[in-house]
């Protein structure tokens, strides 16, 4: 028995500490054939029993219900993580993905047995191509960074096919997400850092100097991670193309562009979407996401197998792809997540999606207007897009850091924004409110942050006081890693 400590604050042990023997929380389907002895099934070579906990169904349900109550969640409160687009996840999308004919569909079911789901995926592919201005879309990648990796593989395959295989480097602006250089490494491309100009944007002269015959292309996040639209994006893409490179667009920030501008129109050759950002699929505490990749026609032949095609009014998988790079995963993609994205797009339609973008950018600029007199705003001369970047420069004079403010926000009942990213400014706080927050929420949040900024370091350093745990010793966890339960 583990009674609540006080009200809703629980002490909840690990599964393994809950004890019990000869219990189980599941009834297996009736066995209508004789059970064969383990000895006969395996001829010896039996394993020792795995040490799994033995619990009844109500014990399991209470355990995980209690754990869930230690989590901050988007349904429970404002979650303004910059570059993560924590927008409301419509409930109907959950119903859609859990329909029997989708959730129970086997990936190798006979070809004629699931036209409806293949049709849905084909429609999603076409919608995403239209939204991004690309020629076609591949739904296979399991997440954004998986999409980045696929996109870079396609760029390499393109150059190799043309006999231009010396292009083994890729330009990546210093403000990029860590996944960009890391995806490049996995694909055996050397990541070359492109320094931002003084205005926080890509500098055309610097780019001009760095483009050469070893550069396979450039990875651009637009709007960039400072929340700024690359105003010279067309010139950047034209310059890269003129020197034989290709342009990869990191679609993490598509929420600022849908229905307003299209990467395919300003020069992107390949991009990825994060459905769990732009198209409101739930983040699930870290995943699963989905990272569809859009390409221009020049990269289409290299896409992973199989691709969806429409023949005689039927949607089918085509494996006859001689120039395909192969596969980046088993099966076809995170279909359960893609169904949610289709549902979201179809519930908003063309005008609703554009309104989504307008509202997201309005909310971010409103927060900026509320906060700019109280916090340092880098690159202030530029209009913010869907997120606003602040730093702790002014509060630092009072020894109050971004981390202090973040922990103060937790105490006040908010999830903190993205902190210490992007790396191009010191003490960054990247705040993305999204379109699904009300003006009242933004007013309250801004007021809270302004008040926290006026407090002293000592007061903030003791926070959070009322969260499930106090500040966690991450140094200890790294120095003496304990990564599993042991009796």
């Amino acid at each position: 028995m583990n009674p609540g400590k006080a009200g809703l604050v629980f002490h909840e042990p690990l599964l393994f500490e809950l004890g019990g023997q000869n219990k189980r929380g599941v009834e297996l389907p009736e066995m209508d054939l004789p059970i064969i002895s383990d000895e006969e099934l395996l001829g010896g070579n039996l394993r020792q029993s795995p040490n799994l906990p033995e619990l009844s169904e109500p014990e399991v349900v209470r355990h995980f219900t209690r754990l869930s109550q230690w989590n901050y969640s988007l349904d429970g409160g404002f979650y303004p993580l910059g570059s993560c687009t924590m927008k409301y996840n419509p409930k109907m999308a959950e119903v859609a993905a859990n329909l029997d004919g989708f959730a129970q569909a086997h990936p190798y079911a006979p070809h004629g047995s699931n036209q409806g789901l293949k049709r849905l995926l084909f429609e999603l592919q076409n919608d995403l191509a239209e939204i991004s201005g690309m020629d076609t879309v591949c739904l296979h990648p399991a997440a954004g960074s998986h999409g980045e990796l696929l996109g870079l593989m396609l760029i390499r395959a393109y150059h190799n096919h043309r006999g231009d295989s010396a292009r083994t480097q890729i330009l990546i602006p210093d403000s990029a997400h860590g996944t960009n250089p890391s995806s490049a490494s996995i694909c055996h491309l050397d990541a070359i850092t492109l320094p931002s100009g003084p205005d926080g944007l890509i500098d055309l002269n610097t780019l001009d100097q760095m483009m050469n015959e070893k550069i396979a292309g450039i990875m651009i996040t637009n709007p960039n991670t400072c929340g700024l639209f690359e105003e010279r994006i067309k010139e950047v893409c034209d310059l890269v193309h003129a020197r034989g490179g290709l342009v990869y667009l990191d679609g993490a920030n598509m929420n600022a562009m849908v229905g307003v501008t299209r990467p395919g129109d300003f020069g992107a050759d390949v991009l990825h979407f994060n459905t769990h950002k732009t198209f409101a699929t739930p983040h699930g505490g870290g995943g699963p996401g989905a990272g569809p990749v859009g390409v221009k026609a020049i990269l289409e032949p290299f896409l992973p197998k199989p691709v969806l095609v429409e023949r005689n009014g039927k949607v089918e998988w085509n494996n006859d792809r001689p120039r395909s790079i192969g596969k980046v995963r088993s099966f076809y993609g995170n279909v359960g997540v893609l169904i949610r994205a289709w549902t979201y797009i179809r519930s908003l339609g063309p005008k609703g999606l554009r309104q989504m973008t307008l509202n997201a950018v309005t909310n971010a600029n409103y927060l900026k207007a509320l906060l700019e007199d109280h916090f340092e705003v880098p690159f202030k001369q530029h209009r913010a897009m869907h997120e606003v970047l602040l730093t702790d420069k002014r509060q630092k004079e009072n020894h109050v850091s971004t981390l202090d403010l973040a922990k103060g926000l937790i105490e006040a009942g908010y999830h903190p924004p993205t902190i210490y990213f992007p790396l191009v400014v010191e003490g960054a706080m990247l705040i993305e409110p999204t379109e699904t927050e009300s003006k009242e929420t933004l007013d309250q949040f801004a007021q809270t942050l302004i008040e926290l900024g006026k407090k002293g370091h000592d007061e903030l350093a003791a926070l959070p006081k009322t969260a499930a745990v106090g500040r966690v010793d991450e140094v200890l966890a790294n120095r003496k890693p304990i990564l599993r339960w042991e009796a």
Binding site: K23, L42, V61, F102, A103, T261, H283, G285, I345, G349
Partner: protein, 452 residues
């Protein structure tokens, strides 16, 4: 009737609030906020996608699309995606918004639920596989297997020959080949014996100075249980890393663990631990390794620590391996993983418990044994391989398997997976029997096979 754009149900601000915000910002309309986008790059004429539908109409369309799939037919489909009874408690728990709508637990004070569940997942998977360390998930087994080979290269940078058993799932093998095609690797496929087990004599000949790793699917694509002990003994004499792969993880209720037989890295497909089929995803890449290699492994880890009050608390740890810290020097580019699927499997294993898992494995094996015995006694067909199987086997049909499977679909049975999908000759079929197949269903399948 559809309402105005400012009243769409996902957007809380009405036109008055929006106008108040625009006034504060100092612009007259929202489109003025996009002044940084050159006029020539702005989309003219709107997106050409279909007009929206109400929730009611959209659900109707979705149900009609879903109804194309015969979810209630008896099915013997497997080949890396397994039909499983899923207890109702799981979806009730994973649907809780506190799990479903939380982000990656970078702020431990408000993420202890996800972090403790991750730690429990890591612990359960270590118990199940016999590995010393397991991460908090990869995308699925194919790409995780590719990352395992790349991890082997970090452990052992010089050699470049990758030995792949022909019993590896063909889509995993193709994924590995695709990932490695951009680097300097040599891939050698080790064929199977007539038993269906990997030819370990041939493998031994390939285990020279240049051998980087051997990738063995422990219960292989054809359902055959490999000789892990012999494979482990061979690899113990070599510098090459022992990489064990396993798509049907319920088999670990009975068969010996990869950890016990010296696996350096383990990759599993967690779908078989109670996740819905969902047409191939989202699934769950399980990834474990020996402790000595943990700083070279990909993926997130939850670690045990303490908080400022001296109480037990969890946080993400060994993050200096990861992309957001180490950038181009990270051990992987993975960021979003399959956290909710890992939670799903954590709950599934908690409900099953030690004896439940063993029973499940016994039921799968016993039913499969019955199906094979019936096929031997009632039909002219023979399994392609003679080795001991878990819950799946391969038959050679005297006809085109794809056409036969299509015919049986119309007769109300999903009979198996045609191996022509994987570029093999036309008669091969994989049949998987799980706890969901009744005796009557197996007898029906056998009677259909008896007609051939």
């Amino acid at each position: 009737m559809r309402r105005g754009l400012d009243q769409l149900r996902y957007f809380p601000n009405d036109s008055r609030s929006n106008q108040e915000m625009l006034d504060k910002i100092g612009v007259s309309q929202a489109s003025d906020l996009f002044s940084a986008i050159p006029e020539s790059l702005r989309l003219q004429g709107g997106l050409k996608i279909v007009e929206p539908k109400s929730e009611y109409a959209l659900l109707k369309e979705l149900k009609a699309k879903a109804a194309d799939y015969p979810a209630d037919l008896p099915s013997f489909l497997g080949a890396g995606a397994y039909r499983r009874f899923i207890p109702s408690a799981i979806s009730a728990l994973v649907s809780r918004a506190e799990f479903l709508t939380a982000y990656t637990p970078y702020q431990p004070e408000v993420s202890q639920g996800t972090l403790q569940a991750m730690f429990e997942f890591q612990s359960l998977l270590c118990e199940l596989t016999g590995m010393e360390v397991a991460n908090a998930s990869m995308y699925e087994a194919g790409s995780a297997a590719a990352e395992a080979v790349m991890m082997a290269k970090r452990v052992n940078p010089k050699p470049n020959k990758v030995l792949l058993s022909a019993g590896l799932h063909p889509e995993y093998a193709e994924t590995i080949k695709t990932y490695l095609s951009f680097g300097d690797y040599q891939i050698v496929t080790i064929p199977l014996l007539s038993s269906g087990q990997t030819d370990l004599e041939l493998l031994e000949k390939e285990l020279d100075q240049n051998a980087l790793c051997s990738v063995l699917q422990v219960v292989n694509f054809y359902g055959v249980i490999e000789d892990q002990a012999a494979h482990g003994a061979l690899l113990a004499k070599s510098k090459a890393l022992n990489i064990a792969v396993l798509p049907e993880m319920t088999s670990l209720g009975l068969i010996q663990t990869p950890g016990q037989h010296g696996a350096d890295i383990f990759v599993g497909e967690g779908q078989s631990l109670g996740l819905p089929l969902s047409y191939g995803g989202p699934y769950l890449g399980v990834f474990g390794c020996k402790k000595e290699y943990m700083r070279k492994m990909p993926g997130r880890l939850s670690g045990l620590s303490e908080d400022s009050r001296g109480n037990r608390a969890f946080c993400l740890t060994l993050s200096t391996r990861e992309q957001h810290i180490r950038r181009e020097k990270a051990t992987s580019n993975i960021c979003s993983n399959q956290a909710l699927c890992a939670l799903w499997v954590t709950i599934y294993l908690s409900l099953l418990g030690k004896e439940g898992l063993k029973d499940l494995a016994r039921i799968n094996m016993s039913k499969t044994r019955y199906a094979l015995e019936q096929i031997r006694s009632q039909t002219k067909l023979k399994p392609r391989y003679t080795g001991r199987v878990y819950n799946e086997f391969c038959l050679e049909l005297p006809c085109n398997a794809t056409l036969w499977i299509d015919k049986l679909l119309h007769e109300g049975l999903m009979a198996g997976v045609d191996l022509a999908r994987f570029g093999q000759t036309e008669g091969g079929i994989l049949i998987s029997v799980t706890e969901l197949n009744s005796k009557a269903e197996i007898d029906l399948l056998v009677s259909k096979l008896g007609e051939l």
